[in-house]
Symmetry: C2
Subunit: 454 residues, 2 copies
């Protein structure tokens, strides 16, 4: 059975619930705090930004939440997504390891992001909202939400991090093709953007800044809500359909993962892939090593502090306890724009503190090398973000080669790189630079962490 | 059963033979002729260009040819490809029609082209060849052959039509990512290219010119062969796996097509989709209308003459009897670069003459409109080439709406448009122009048809 190239599920086998890991954890994650009072934030603190259905999911202690019929129908445009056995990569690496990758690039937006974009648009529409705002880094999230909004006939304004906006011009066309409007961030349209531009007219932007701009344009307006592509509990929960499917698919070929690696920016791809496996691990049914992989230029889990911080740069969001490099830290312009976030999902941060997962960081040149080798063996051109997971996969496969063990490695190829060819062209021309961990910039940013009594 | 969104086949259900329609036709197609003697061309006339296995397939009268195990293994990276029911497009058009599309954009190169690129690379490698040359229009074929050559560890030189080379800069990066070398055509590297540039330094190029350049670089060199992405019998035959799978998939939902539409440049996508259905039709098992759709700017089937002509501009290939606009006709630079070919596959031309298929032409603005509407309903961004098929699908669906009939429409979405976002950006900005049928230019080119005694 394990010699199959791809393991498919029929539509009728698609999971019909998302998995909420919170009730299964040995202790609950710390609550979000109101940014002014520092009291635990209640649902009402989130109401200017999100519809009640999503707020209830954010704080839910139910282990499973049913996927609405309307969302399932849209999911079927690309789900269940395929699980591949990387036979050709294994052969090229001459490794006895079995490498499996769950491929989310088959979605219309080309990444895992529609898994949460679609329910977020759906719940907003259900609450009578017809316009959303959001931020995007590399553009995968902006494309996904634009796609979702086009299906539910909603307006969307997207603020894209300037560094990615400039690197990936065709993202703009793609987002506009789905009917949304896109602005480079920082922009002159918001107070937050104008303040950044006043201090640095050439600011490459950051996810934190773009979030500030999108939040500022939504919060005061009762007809507009904001949508976030990662970080929050409900977002990670929507992504668990990835891991639930992968569990069913590995069971079909009678394999159990020894190592699971995934790239982490805000944490939604990683959480989505790994939480269902973590459930099995906590239940004693399997015992995989679960490892997050982040860019060396923006290593929130491995180098950040675990503290209450803002989700955005301007300090408008509730405070969340997470691994952070400081809310106004601006990462160097690596090509994996989706991993350029100063913080980490509070839920993942908590799980990391509990010792349930590991984390490493990898410089981007090693990642691009893994990406090119992957394309030349498996055929699929990966987005720069999952090349981090692929680089970690290669490391693990070479370790297996040394030990001679048939290690079963699972990873998520969370998106294709068709819109990232300019980055690959730079890599092929030998023009990719590695940014070292910017210790001084981080230490400086950490001096501005909000002071929260413990 | 018909309410499913996508109909999948397991790897174990993948067809293991290609279908050769030639022996099933009421009369055989006219032979290719030697360009000098005008005698029927023998296998030896093709040997400087192709390995014997492919030449034998080109002239085969066996109805089925087994797909080599090594090729099947590569096919499994993306095959069987999904068949989708376009529920959301149907709803948006308010049509009772059932619209099905076979999606080939799931392949690593993003189109149907790897279906023939992989066996072509395989048979060449098997014959001891380690280097290929080829032409490419929009870049789908060049990408596909680069992918195939990377899998079989072969070198590849690609000549890309200048108009597409300039319109789609990231194709170059993609082709280079798979390890191939790419040149804009016309180039200074060949006699054919230099002659064109001497006459018109700003020549936008054409598939015919690019073929001349690639052939010129292969034919005199015994260690190098040439590969063609469409037009020839063996190429169309390799693509029949599309139609064979679609037959199995439609049977799973108990549907029979009333109308099949496909876009036609050289004819390989159209032949691949329709030949297996044509077999069923000739056997009296179904009776679909089968319709080719070509661009108004390059309408070889609907406006060309049926005559012996060269496959390339410089006149180096054997003569083939086909619908042609003249081998030195240079089409206007429409965005569907893959449909900018002066001729039509001789086999399809013959089948058209036999009255077994219909043909229409559509201007590109109607096609782009269909493409955007498709993306906003079905999510997938189509390449400009299959938007021609989608525009024809929309026409047919609206006809069904008028008549109230549940017409079953089948089409092939032969590739995604992720590398064509510049074209969509132009469309969204209102900058797409329609090129009328260039009657005078065609009439002029037709004066230079080779004179062949009948």
């Amino acid at each position: 059975m394990t010699d199959r190239t791809k393991i498919l599920l029929d539509e009728s086998e698609m999971p019909t619930s998302w998995y909420n890991i919170v009730p299964d954890l040995p202790e609950p994650p710390p609550p979000a705090l109101h940014p002014g009072t520092h009291d635990p934030a209640g649902p009402e603190d989130f109401l200017p930004l999100f519809p009640m259905d999503l707020i209830l999911q954010e704080v839910s202690t139910d282990p499973y939440i049913e996927i609405p019929e309307e969302v399932q129908e849209v999911y079927k445009l690309w789900r269940p997504s395929p699980l591949f056995r990387a036979h050709r990569l294994e052969k090229a690496l001459d490794t006895p390891a079995h490498i499996y990758y769950k491929y989310e690039g088959v979605s219309p937006a080309g990444s895992h992001k529609p898994n949460t974009a679609v329910p977020q648009a759906y719940y907003n529409k259900k609450a009578g909202i017809n316009k959303l705002t959001t931020e995007t880094g590399a553009g995968q999230w902006g494309t996904a939400l634009a796609f979702a909004c086009s299906l539910f006939d909603m307006e969307l304004d997207v603020w894209q991090v300037r560094a990615s906006y400039d690197q990936k011009p065709y993202r703009k066309a793609m987002i506009e093709m789905f009917g949304a409007t896109i602005h480079p961030s920082p922009s002159e349209l918001t107070e937050a953007g104008r303040a950044i531009l006043a201090a640095d007219p050439d600011s490459p932007g950051s996810l934190g800044i773009a979030i500030s701009e999108a939040v500022e344009m939504a919060a005061p307006n009762p007809d507009v809500r904001y949508a976030l592509g990662s970080v929050l509990n409900h977002v990670l929960m929507h992504q668990t359909i990835i891991g639930e499917e992968a569990l069913l698919q590995l069971a079909k070929v009678e394999e159990t993962p020894d190592v699971i690696v995934g790239c982490t920016g805000g944490g939604s791809n990683f959480g989505g892939l790994t939480f269902p496996f973590l459930r099995e691990k906590m239940a004693g049914k399997m015992n995989p090593t679960i490892r997050a992989v982040e860019p060396e230029a923006c290593p929130s889990l491995t180098k950040g502090v675990y503290a209450y911080d803002f989700g955005d740069t301007a300090g408008m969001t509730p405070l969340m306890k997470m691994h952070t490099l400081g809310h106004d830290f601006v990462p160097d312009p690596i090509h994996a724009g989706g991993l350029r976030y100063h913080g980490m999902a509070p839920l993942l941060s908590h799980i990391y503190e509990l010792g349930l997962i590991e984390a490493i960081s990898i410089p981007q040149s090693e990642c691009f090398e893994a990406g090119v080798n992957f394309a030349r063996t498996e055929g699929i051109i990966p987005a720069p973000e999952p090349t981090h997971a692929l680089a970690a996969t290669v490391r693990e496969a070479l370790k297996a080669k040394e030990s001679g063990e048939e290690t079963v490695i699972l990873t998520a190829l969370c998106g294709h790189g068709h819109l990232d060819m300019a980055a690959y062209a730079q890599y092929l021309a030998g023009e990719i630079v590695d940014f070292e961990y910017p210790e001084d910039k981080v230490n400086d940013a950490l001096t501005r962490l909000p002071q929260v009594a413990s």
